[in-house]
């Protein structure tokens, strides 16, 4: 081969190589709607971190649909419903193939219906109300289990493992999440033959629970267990104050108690005999979990703050998996692929959408706190 031919060939090859990225196609955009400032930021910010991490890992492994890069566009909706609505419209105007976000039903309800209308799937990483798919429509998907599942799980544990007969229930009356949790818990306790001897209330943001504690002390018949339906902000405070008052009865809750605060605020001596139902992630030795924790530490310099980080990670993973199966990013096709998800190995457990309610069939982990240490007490599966 003459030198001239070789030069032409090599130049041609170089041009081809430089054009390859362009041939790889435009990026696949996902709109991540989260409250990164304002009151919900401690729950939502880690979720966005998790989501971006997953996208980065996918891109490192070669991207989707023939090398296209996955881009997660984080939109801060400032714990403000108007911003949620305009954020959703903005994401849709930017041509995202799917939306994800939020740890609270209120914000999902402000944003998801807009996606439904435009036939773009919306996957919530952290909102757990079991009626969501029915309220929004068939383009709505949940990564976590429903509140009914987690309440039933901890109720079963209360009656069967803790052998309780009389139960006290404290409810945060300012959030639909906590009210739903209490409602399902009470329903299940009574079905299993338990008795609710005291129902007390508080509001998100309350710092002092001395009145409720005094009523708890004086309740007749004496409650064997107290169920506290609260979000992370009040989790540590309630445990601390109850134990400081000298009450030793087991304290149970839902995934609102899945936070470091439940051990750090009371301290190792007082963080005792606390049990809560949550996503299968904490203290879990599955390879997906360990890999996630390692990757998160490497990327952000500290371990994941709470389960919402893992859930955000899973939301992106779920969408990516569906894109691969659908072999397209078209709205209806993606929706169908998502609905057909069976046994997707998420960090927070296996996800399958087999139930008519649209709520995923996922395992619930019951975590016990003893002397400031977490331990998986049991894994509960909902009935098919």
């Amino acid at each position: 081969m003459s030198r001239k031919t070789l030069t032409i060939l090599l130049t041609g090859l170089l041009c081809l190589l430089m054009a390859l990225p362009a041939l790889a196609g435009e990026p696949i955009k996902l709109g991540a709607l989260y409250n990164l400032t304002g009151g919900m930021s401690s729950i939502d910010a880690p979720a966005l971190n998790g989501a971006k991490l997953k996208a980065k890992l996918i891109n490192q492994a070669g991207g989707l649909l023939g090398g296209r890069k996955l881009v997660v566009i984080g939109i801060d909706t400032k714990t403000n419903q108007k911003a949620a609505a305009t954020g959703a419209k903005k994401a849709l105007a930017m041509g995202v193939v799917a939306g994800l976000g939020y740890g609270d039903t209120t914000f999902v309800m402000a944003a998801a219906p807009l996606f439904q209308k435009k036939k773009v799937p919306f996957v919530t990483s952290g909102a757990t109300h079991p009626m969501l798919p029915r309220w929004v429509g068939n383009y709505m998907f949940m990564v976590p289990f429903g509140d009914d599942d987690q309440s039933f799980a901890i109720a079963d544990f209360t009656i069967k493992k803790l052998k309780a007969k009389n139960v006290a229930i404290w409810t945060d009356n300012s959030m639909d999440f906590t009210k739903a949790l209490s409602k399902f818990y009470k329903q299940r306790i009574q079905k299993l033959g338990g008795k609710v001897v005291l129902e007390d209330f508080f509001m998100m943001g309350d710092k002092d629970f001395s009145a409720q504690i005094a009523r708890l002390k004086n309740a007749k018949p004496k409650p064997d267990v107290v169920f506290i339906s609260a979000i992370p902000n009040e989790a540590g405070l309630t445990v601390k104050q109850i134990r400081e008052a000298g009450l030793k009865l087991p304290i149970v809750s839902g995934d609102g108690f899945d936070t470091e605060l439940v051990t750090t605020v009371p301290g190792p001596k007082l963080a005792n005999d606390v049990y809560f139902s949550t996503h299968t992630y904490r203290e879990d030795k599955r390879p997906e979990v360990l890999a996630f924790v390692e990757a998160y530490k490497k990327e952000y310099g500290h371990p994941p703050e709470n389960a919402f980080a893992a859930l955000g990670f899973d939301a992106v993973g779920l969408i990516a998996d569906a894109i691969k199966r659908a072999k397209s990013t078209d709205g209806p096709a993606l929706r169908d692929a998502l609905a057909a998800t069976r046994g997707y190995k998420a960090v927070t457990g296996e996800i399958s959408y087999t139930r008519p309610s649209g709520v995923p069939l996922k395992a619930v982990s019951i975590i016990g706190v003893h002397n400031g240490k977490y331990k998986v007490e049991e894994i509960w599966m909902p009935q098919k």
């Binding site: 005291l198 509001m203 540590g236 470091e260």
Partner: protein, 298 residues
């Protein structure tokens, strides 16, 4: 619901009230001297709480020294805000200053989230302060007692300063009539600065107490004490230090007693009850408990 239960609730209310009082006093002082509703006052409480956390983490610093340093931090922040945001605006209509303080509050909160992250953090005092004290039916922790005692001591010191020192005379004069005070030769810039420093120092130490009482802090925690300070100051009559003190205790007691004495179903209505009471108090005493009706002529 025996007498012991009620006694316990009253004690709880007083402890909470002493913290509110401390924040309300600083707030009222600032209002008294330049007619400014400082909405960033609550965020100085937040800064005090985080400063405490940071200082306690330095090994070898004894706790009482931390408390003193936090006073300094609070005062410094107050002075910075005064110089940066409020001094250029002196002489403007009242509501302008209010809005500016709101802007400062937004800046502090968002800086807090950016720098410190929104995650709530655990906050614990040295163990010897967590000891439980039992006096008959009533029990509280040593830290609660310290909060109340410190608050009262600081209030007494403040009263002494305001009513027995030359600085206090300058403060009262400036509060009464700024222009005349200036004509009398009082350095109003310095007086205002010192007032801000003292008021903010009190807010800073209130932050230390807040963290110690509740065990948990986050960058947005300032909103609640700021609001309560405002309400407490209004109950007592804005501008009156004694009024702010009393207002703080009244508010603390009202909050705890409403939840404590009413059936559980009403616990969720607590804020509504407290504010309704507030409105009723104001209707009977339109200038708060100790306020002067000349306030609004400014």
């Amino acid at each position: 619901m025996g007498a012991g239960y009620i006694a316990q609730q009253i004690v709880n209310g007083l402890i909470l009230g002493s913290m509110y009082a401390l924040v309300a006093i600083g707030f009222s002082m600032i209002y008294g001297i330049i007619r400014l509703i400082n909405f960033a006052h609550g965020d100085i409480v937040m800064i005090g709480a985080f400063a405490t956390l940071g200082l306690m983490a330095i090994p070898g610093v004894p706790f009482p020294l931390v408390a003193v340093m936090v006073l300094g931090v609070g005062g410094l922040v107050g002075v910075l805000i005064e110089r940066g945001a409020f001094r250029p605006m002196r002489g403007a209509p009242q509501v302008t200053g209010f809005i500016a303080s709101l802007a400062v509050s937004i800046i502090l909160q968002n800086l807090g989230i950016l720098i410190l992250s929104a995650q709530p953090r655990n906050f614990s005092f040295p163990a010897y302060l967590q000891v439980m004290i039992n006096l008959g039916p009533v029990s509280f922790r040593l830290v609660d007692l310290m909060i109340m005692v410190t608050a009262l001591v600081l209030m007494l010191v403040l009263m002494a300063v305001v009513y027995r020192t030359k600085l206090g005379v300058a403060m009262r004069a400036t509060a009464e009539d700024l222009d005349v005070a200036r004509l009398m030769g009082i350095d109003i810039n310095r007086t205002i600065m010192v007032t801000f420093a003292i008021g903010s120092a009190l807010a800073g130490i209130a932050g230390l107490m807040w963290g110690g009482k509740f065990g948990q802090i986050d960058p947005l925690l300032g909103f609640v004490p700021g609001l309560k300070a405002f309400v407490a100051a209004v109950i007592g009559g804005v501008g009156s230090i004694a009024g702010a003190m009393v207002g703080g205790f009244v508010l603390g007691l009202a909050e705890v007693l409403f939840v404590g004495l009413l059936p559980p179903i009403y616990s969720a209505y607590r804020d509504a009850f407290v504010f309704s009471t507030l409105i009723v108090i104001l209707l009977i005493l339109p200038n708060g408990l100790f306020g002067r009706s000349s306030e609004e002529r400014a």
